[in-house]
Symmetry: C2
Subunit: 308 residues, 2 copies
């Protein structure tokens, strides 16, 4: 199980690797460089990258491979944030407490930076995969296609934006959350699992964990959008109602959404328990689960309604 | 050397494969699907895909692999066209004689469709590469990174948009053209060259050919922007002057640009001659060169100035 200092060393390695692999180069346009460098410097909590490193350590994957895959996963995440914030999408003002990239460097540079991150992420994964057997590489390519494409992030974002045109049911909201939030958590677990030769049973539990965590992340995000101020959340809140976007709190009500959040957290805990039964190293997942459950606590408790 | 009927069969296969692999699926957002299906139905001349098929046939690469790589290359091209036309980039009204995708389906769906094409293209290449040796796969991943990222399409487009901020020299214009136009021609030649085990000398000549053709394509596009009507060109013309974009005709003058275009065409012919000396099958490249030289003829001759 990774110790706190090991985990801190991992974050430092990850931040350095994100800078080192950043898609910049001689003669690069000033605004494009601005978006890329700001994005890799003002990182968030790097949940996906740290999760990938922890899973890789559990499965004895070498650090260089783990770091490259972690950077790629974080680059996919950065790209999705840059694009989601655009005026034609969520039209956000701030992200991580700072003005959004398109307000500082323009929409074109923001879109191109997102593409540069996606392109570099594919290259990093391609190189990391090079020594793996063909079957493992195909498994990863299929997962990337499913997670990032129309069945995953791209399709989820499109349905999120077109939500006003469909019946606003809890199921429709959950399906969009599943496409938008679970895929990168799933990649963060699958990539090291394939690299480290995890068993089919472990991979099935990891997939379920990514689903429960993803749905819980999104339920929490929905509650925050309804209940938190923009300053507390570090990004523009109160948008879902205004823009007719899917929000579990709006279709289920806040109390029922809290119940669902608690249930998802319990289901995730159960899967971690099953994983630990198969391989003791998976106790590392408890750290992430606690971190997440603690972050969820304010929105998950009725006291937060006072702020709404 | 491919016969005309063989080449037609290749186009039919390519169009079918572009539809078959199109990034659509159950529950897909209406606008996203609209952009994807319109893009794969209203294809242009498929120069890159056909070129890839011809090079693959020369090198005895199997048709299934060739078609998958050709589709991927065309998907990268489609994505770049969708994004280049956006209001924050070239703000174009029409493409291939039809209204641009963002005018029909919105900017968000257009951006997401571009990402869906890019994502699917990476998956197609990943699967096609699966049986290749690690060294070949790494060569392809490095080329994809160079061609599509900040050293290629993404960086070229950013410098194109930021051109008003730099000194408008012929060299600056050529460097942007090189980053924007050669990379996909180069991938169309490199991917089958690696798959078919072309020699290092062949690969070096193919790279030079992609450079000459790319610069010639762009010089022709620049002349068309200055000299053709939007109806003739099938896309909005006269934009480079208005938007302060790089255009060789604007920095060199139209006669000198025509001379350069002729010189580039001659240099490309010379490289094809060298390639045919190494492997007779490369005569297939003459067909593409003739097609290109014929397309260039109107803008390359002073008679077209009457239309300006």
């Amino acid at each position: 199980m990774p110790q706190p200092d090991q985990s801190l060393a991992g974050v430092v390695r990850l931040q350095r690797a994100m800078l080192q692999h950043a898609p910049v180069g001689a003669g690069i346009d000033h605004d494009l460089q601005g978006v890329v460098l700001t994005s890799v410097s003002q990182t968030g909590k790097l949940v996906r990258g740290r999760l990938l490193q922890a899973a890789a350590a559990t499965l004895a994957v070498d650090e260089e491979t783990a770091d490259a895959l972690a950077v790629a996963t974080e680059y996919f995440h950065l790209a999705s944030l840059l694009l989601d914030d655009l005026p034609c999408m969520d039209d956000a003002l701030t992200r991580r407490g700072q003005p959004c990239a398109h307000h500082l460097h323009g929409e074109a540079a923001t879109i191109l930076a997102a593409l540069a991150f996606i392109n570099r992420a594919h290259a990093l994964i391609g190189f990391a995969l090079a020594p793996w057997p063909g079957r493992s590489r195909c498994q990863v390519h299929a997962a990337l296609d499913a997670c990032l494409g129309v069945a995953g992030l791209v399709g989820g974002q499109a349905r999120d934006l077109g939500f006003a045109r469909v019946a606003p049911t809890p199921r429709a909201v959950a399906m969009i959350a599943l496409a938008k939030t679970s895929p990168l958590l799933w990649l963060a677990l699958l990539l090291p699992a394939v690299a480290g030769g995890a068993s089919a049973r472990e991979i099935a539990h990891l997939k379920a964990l990514a689903v429960y965590w993803g749905l819980a992340f999104q339920a929490l995000d929905d509650l925050r959008d309804l209940l938190a101020t923009s300053v507390e959340a570090g990004k523009t809140t109160g948008r879902d109602r205004t823009l007719a976007r899917p929000n579990l709190g709006l279709v289920l009500g806040v109390p029922a959404t809290r119940q669902r959040l608690h249930r998802l957290i319990t289901q995730a805990e159960h899967r971690i328990g099953r994983l630990v039964g198969l391989r003791s190293g998976w106790t590392c997942l408890h750290l992430f689960h606690q971190e997440f459950a603690q972050a969820a606590a304010p929105a998950a408790s009725p006291a937060s309604e006072a702020a709404a």
